[in-house]
């Protein structure tokens, strides 16, 4: 029983580690069009890329501080929301990361 719990925990840790690396790419890809945090999270969740607010917002800030995103506060539906979109550098990096992802995916498919 405890061994199966250990295995589950081990798998869960590895799964999270695997997904963590992909999150930046997923977030960048969804910000080709402007979105605010909540709708971005919903869009990702609907496409099977679940991400909680505690992970998403710090990630958005990190990507913005690296110059890959721009953001602005705007009022929508009577509430202030912060809208994010890809910066020109972000577009470039997204292309490179997407190509890298394809390579990794191809290699892994071959290996697996």
């Amino acid at each position: 029983m405890s061994q199966s719990i250990d295995n589950h925990e081990r798998f869960e840790n590895l799964r999270l580690e695997l997904r963590r690396g992909c999150l930046s790419l997923a977030v960048l890809s969804q910000l080709k069009t402007e979105r605010y945090g909540y709708t971005l999270r919903k869009a990702l969740n609907e496409q099977g890329m679940e991400i909680d607010e505690g992970t998403l917002y710090p990630l958005l800030r990190r990507l913005e501080s690296h110059g890959l995103l721009t953001s602005e506060w705007r009022e929508e539906e009577k509430r202030n929301k912060r809208f994010y979109r890809l910066s020109p550098d972000g577009k470039q990096v997204l292309k490179q990361l997407a190509a890298e992802w394809q390579n990794i995916n191809k290699s892994l498919n071959g290996i697996l």
Binding site: Y36, G37, Y38, D52, E53, G54, Y57
Partner: protein, 337 residues
């Protein structure tokens, strides 16, 4: 919504000042959107327990705030193994010798065990841990680390060690030291009732003879062992065992020498009787006080020699384990035993 405001206030408390307002506004917006969506689904406002469950899912305020903070540490992962190593050595160095000396006093000289104040041991440990941590933190945060990390060269790395190889130089030094010991031992300390040493006459108890000859036999065995080690410079279980036996016997005899108070008196041409008596008393006192330290050294020797045997044994075991079996029969590499 009171619960939500309290939650946001708690998160805000841990956030960096400059980003507080911005982060809280964004987090608040997200949580309010989640609540609105849930309420729209249910067609009513959320109860306190439903709101509580939603906030709990988000994580504790400290956990949420920590994700916005840069990773901070006093000693980073690069330096940490070295830090742990030094701290371990320092703490062992603080604790083990004092403890052993204290045990020595307790066994052989209980009246004087207060000489070592064990009460301040904790203070010593805390100080050692504090200054080690401080030194490593300075290395981590002042950029010295980067210089240290750059300053290395594969050619300057120490050669691969074989812990079971006995250095021939060591064996030669041992043989040389034993020859000198024999020369001095026989010339100066020949077991008469009175020993003439540099013009002074030292009177020893008759039991000195027993010690003298026993020590001579031990030294000869040590000389033989060093000779074997010189020509076959690998530790084996039997030789490691002999080393343990000789070291422990030598240490035990030395402790007995201190305990037995063989020293009876001293006289010299320019030494008055009173001074000679004072000197005799002082030497006896020094020998008595040295006993606990000698016991500590004996225990240390015993531990080191035992560890040497364990190392040979485990190394033999490992070697045997990796040798492939031929026709179902496991072959072992000759270990020289």
């Amino acid at each position: 919504m009171e619960l939500l405001d309290r939650y946001l206030q708690a998160v805000q408390f841990f956030l960096p000042k400059k980003q507080k307002a911005d982060i809280i506004a964004e987090l608040s917006e997200d949580l309010r959107s989640q609540i609105e969506e849930k309420e729209a689904e249910l067609g009513r406002t959320l109860t306190d327990s439903e709101l509580e469950a939603l906030l709990k899912r988000c994580g504790s305020p400290w956990e949420v705030a920590s994700r916005y903070l840069p990773q901070r540490y006093l000693i980073g992962p690069t330096l940490f193994p070295a830090y742990r190593f030094f701290l371990g050595i320092l703490l062992l160095g603080c604790v083990v010798p004092r403890f052993l000396v204290w045990i020595g006093f307790l066994i052989f000289d209980p009246a004087d065990r207060g000489y070592l104040n064990m009460g301040n041991m904790l203070e010593t440990i805390v100080s050692a841990a504090f200054f080690t941590t401080l030194a490593f933190a300075i290395i981590e945060w002042t950029g010295i680390k980067l210089k240290l990390m750059d300053y290395w060269n594969p050619r300057k790395l120490p050669p691969v060690k074989d812990p079971n190889r006995i250095s021939r130089a060591n064996s030669l030094v041992e043989i040389g030291a034993l020859v000198v010991f024999f020369a001095l031992f026989f010339q100066v300390l020949w077991p008469g009732p009175v020993i003439d040493m540099f013009g002074a006459k030292i009177v020893l108890a008759p039991a000195w003879r027993g010690f003298f000859w026993a020590y001579t036999v031990l030294a000869m065995c040590s000389l033989a062992l060093s000779g074997v080690n010189l020509f076959r410079p690998y530790r084996t279980k039997s030789r490691a065992f002999w080393r343990l036996l000789l070291d422990v016997a030598g240490g035990a005899m030395f402790c007995w020498l201190l305990k037995a108070q063989l020293f009876l008196g001293i006289s010299a041409p320019n030494l008055s009787e009173e001074k000679a008596a004072e000197l005799t008393a002082l030497l006896k006192l020094i020998m008595a006080k040295a006993l606990p330290w000698a016991v500590v050294i004996l225990v240390a020797i015993l531990l080191m020699s035992s560890y040497r045997i364990f190392r040979v044994w485990s190394s033999d075991r490992r070697r045997n384990a990796i040798v492939p079996s031929v026709n179902g029969v496991t072959t072992s590499i000759a270990t020289g035993t």
